[in-house]
């Protein structure tokens, strides 16, 4: 009887069966402890890994923000340069000095007779093909253009 085997009698030694059971139980506990410690260590490592990644990403983000700011500043400088070059005084200088253009000296107004109004085209009613032709076109993949279609 196993139950009798594990039961300890005061003043008597443990039976061999009881030892094996105890050993098995100890091993189980040890395994469980190791698993728990391993899991805990894994969790810690995971946590450390995640924390490191987050911190690393944080620094990357800061660097990217700085880059973005720098690009924004560069864009602002370019916008300013563009606006400076669009200055009318600069354009005038460029046009007259570099391209030899001259200010408008003479303006003549021309009288132009308005031509007669163009007649409005009358809308055409779309032609309806018979059903058998439409069915045949659909089967053969034939398309037909007709007057009045939008360009």
């Amino acid at each position: 009887m196993v139950a009798e085997g594990v039961r300890s009698v005061p003043g008597s030694r443990l039976q061999p069966v009881g030892r094996q059971v105890m050993r098995r139980r100890s091993r189980a506990w040890l395994t469980l402890t190791l698993v728990l410690v391993g899991a805990l260590a894994g969790l810690c490592l995971l946590y450390l890994e995640q924390t490191s990644r987050v911190v690393e990403l944080g620094y990357k983000l800061t660097a990217l923000q700085k880059q973005r700011d720098s690009v924004a500043l560069e864009a602002a400088a370019l916008r300013y340069e563009l606006a400076r070059r669009q200055s009318l005084a600069q354009i005038y200088e460029l046009a007259t000095r570099e391209y030899g253009m001259v200010p408008l000296r003479r303006v003549e107004a021309l009288e132009v007779e308005r031509s007669a109004a163009i007649p409005t085209p009358t809308p055409t009613t779309p032609l309806h093909a018979p059903w058998w032709q439409r069915a045949s076109d659909a089967l053969l993949g034939v398309g037909r253009a007709q007057a009045g279609d939008e360009p």
């Binding site: 800061t62 003479r106 303006v107 003549e108």
Partner: protein
């Protein structure tokens, strides 16, 4: 145990006690005595607050051209204790930052200073040069800088931004809350290098960038006005002037050119701060004969005169107290119609109109036209002008009669343009405005034209326009705009001084005000030349500039001529 060992042990014990005592003292000192202060310092170091400046909004003209924007710049500072050789540092920095070497050295050797700003708003090229020097203790920090790409273009309208990055004059000041934005704030736990720790506690209140202003100013018209004004001032050897172009239907200001002006990019170089003020709204002058347009409008509207009413155009009008008020150059025109009163610019004729109106109707009319009160334009520093009404200390019968031809009354150029524009559009006074749109992210606020009140009837406005068109035709020997009917009136105003009106060369303000085309008025233009020496008269000194502005304006906006033109229509000059 031997005696030697015991002694060694005692020495060791004493050393240990001393060391422990020292350590304990430091521990107590750090943890108890200086604890709160050190904790505070550590907190301050770890949780530093950074103010993140907001980007100031751009200012654009009606065509989208950039008139004011932000550009990157740097501020150069020194950490005094880290500067190894102040003399050499000063020598190297001086030519780059525009300060003397002595001044910089003095700043770098100041006792009890940890930090000193050496120069602000440096150009990127200068920053790069300073960075390349690698001077110990010299630090560059980015800061925004306001830039005006077109230099002195419309400078008194735009204003500028001061060292504190706040709008100081012009639109920059008027719309500072709108374009300035709201700075952000970053409070976070930082590492030794000052970087925010991602996992630390932090709070981020982002900055709100300023809105973009779109003006009614058309850069093409503004450039035209400024160019013509510069040339006229040079030709007439004048001290300054103003040209305003207003859209008569809406009250939108298309151009507001003033001279002398300044370059807002270099506002620190300006010695006279009076240059920062916009004289179109902040300075008053006696309008002289251009004011007869208003007098005549009131007379016609009240029905006391018609264009055909004939008055005796003698050389003067004698007041009950014996005071005589003369025409310019003591001219005598004989009997003249009201149209001729305007053509001759007869003071006597204008006095007859106000005589028939009486003070009450005259001054009520002036008030209706907006004189003696701000126009409400969205520009800072607008003044009311001076209109002395009966019962006030500055009023007398002589004032009443001289007011008829624009003396003894002070107006701003914008007041006069706004009032004449009311005649041009059929009798409705419009509130002038200069900001067309406020673009704040997705939200766009568009300014709607605002009618203030009707000042004269439509019929009166039409009648007066026809009369003024005849006046312009009478100037054809001096200036003309072939193909178009323009309503205009010249003025030659004397300048009051402490001892009466000034005399001699350069003692007048020559001006022309007008609108057109008469059939369907679009623009009202005022040309005002201060103290011309070429000719004192409005017709000669300001007339050609007025015609040039109008001619180019009509071309620019593609308005066809309304009258047949023989041969060549317009002879343009350089803008």
């Amino acid at each position: 145990m031997s005696g030697l060992s015991a002694r060694r042990l005692r020495v060791l014990l004493a050393a240990f006690v001393l060391f422990s005592g020292a350590v304990s003292y430091r521990v107590v000192s750090f943890a108890v005595l200086q604890g709160p202060i050190l904790a505070q310092r550590a907190e301050a170091f770890r949780y530093r607050e950074d103010i993140v400046p907001a980007h100031r909004g751009d200012i654009l003209d009606v065509r989208g051209r950039v008139l004011a924007t932000d550009i990157p710049a740097d501020r150069v500072s020194a950490i005094v204790r880290q500067v190894e050789d102040p003399h050499r540092t000063a020598q190297l920095l001086a030519p780059l930052i525009g300060r003397s070497a002595e001044e910089i050295e003095a700043a770098l050797t100041q006792p009890n200073r940890e930090w000193v700003v050496l120069q602000r708003q440096l150009d990127p090229e200068v920053s790069a040069q300073i960075r390349a020097l690698g001077l110990p203790g010299i630090v560059l920090d980015p800061e925004p800088k306001r830039a005006y790409p077109m230099g002195d273009f419309a400078s008194q309208v735009l204003g500028f931004v001061n060292w504190e990055y706040r709008g100081a004059y012009g639109l920059e000041a008027e719309y500072d809350d709108v374009v300035g934005g709201v700075p952000g704030q970053l409070v976070g736990e930082r590492d030794l290098a000052g970087n925010v720790i991602a996992l630390g506690q932090s709070s981020w209140n982002p900055p709100k960038d300023g809105a973009t202003l779109v003006l009614t100013i058309d850069s093409a018209v503004q450039y035209l006005a400024e160019s013509v004004l510069d040339r006229t001032i040079q030709e007439q050897r004048a001290v300054g002037g103003t040209i305003i172009v207003l859209d008569v239907q809406t009250g939108a200001i298309l151009a507001m050119a003033n001279r002398p002006s300044f370059d807002p990019n270099r506002f620190t170089a300006v010695r006279d701060p009076a240059l920062f003020v916009n004289p179109s709204v902040s300075a008053t002058y006696e309008p002289g004969s251009t004011f007869k347009v208003i007098t005549m409008a009131l007379g016609l509207d009240a029905g006391v005169v018609t264009p055909e009413t004939v008055v005796d155009g003698g050389a003067y009008r004698e007041l009950p107290d014996g005071t005589r008020i003369y025409n310019a150059l003591f001219q005598e025109f004989g009997p003249e119609t009201m149209t001729e009163v305007l053509i001759h610019s007869s003071n006597v004729g204008a006095m007859e109109v106000v005589h028939r109106l009486g003070p009450e109707r005259f001054y009520d009319g002036l008030q209706r036209f907006g004189f003696g009160q701000p126009t409400g334009v969205d520009l800072p520093g607008e003044v009311e002008g001076i209109v002395n009404r009966p019962g006030t200390t500055g009023w007398s019968l002589a004032t009443f009669y001289t007011n008829a031809f624009g003396q003894g009354i002070a107006v701003t150029p914008l007041q006069l343009v706004t009032a004449v524009a009311a005649i041009a559009n059929g009798g409705v006074l419009m509130r002038p405005y200069i900001v067309r749109e406020i673009r704040d992210g997705q939200h766009i606020q568009v300014t709607q034209p605002t009618p203030v009140r009707r000042v004269i009837s439509e019929k009166t406005a039409r009648t007066l326009s026809e009369m003024l068109a005849e006046v312009t035709e009478s100037y054809s020997t001096r200036f003309r705009i072939p193909g178009y009917r323009i309503a205009a009136k010249t003025g030659t105003a004397e300048i009051p001084g402490p001892h009466g009106y000034e005399r001699g060369e350069g003692a007048t303000i020559a001006s022309v005000i007008g609108y057109g085309p008469v059939e369907s008025p679009r623009f009202c233009v005022l040309v005002k030349i201060d103290r011309p020496k070429g000719s004192p008269w409005g017709e000669r000194a300001a007339g050609p500039a007025f015609a040039e502005v109008f001619r180019q304006l009509l071309l620019l906006y593609g308005i066809p001529p309304s009258q047949p033109v023989n041969g060549t229509t317009g002879e343009g000059r350089q803008p």
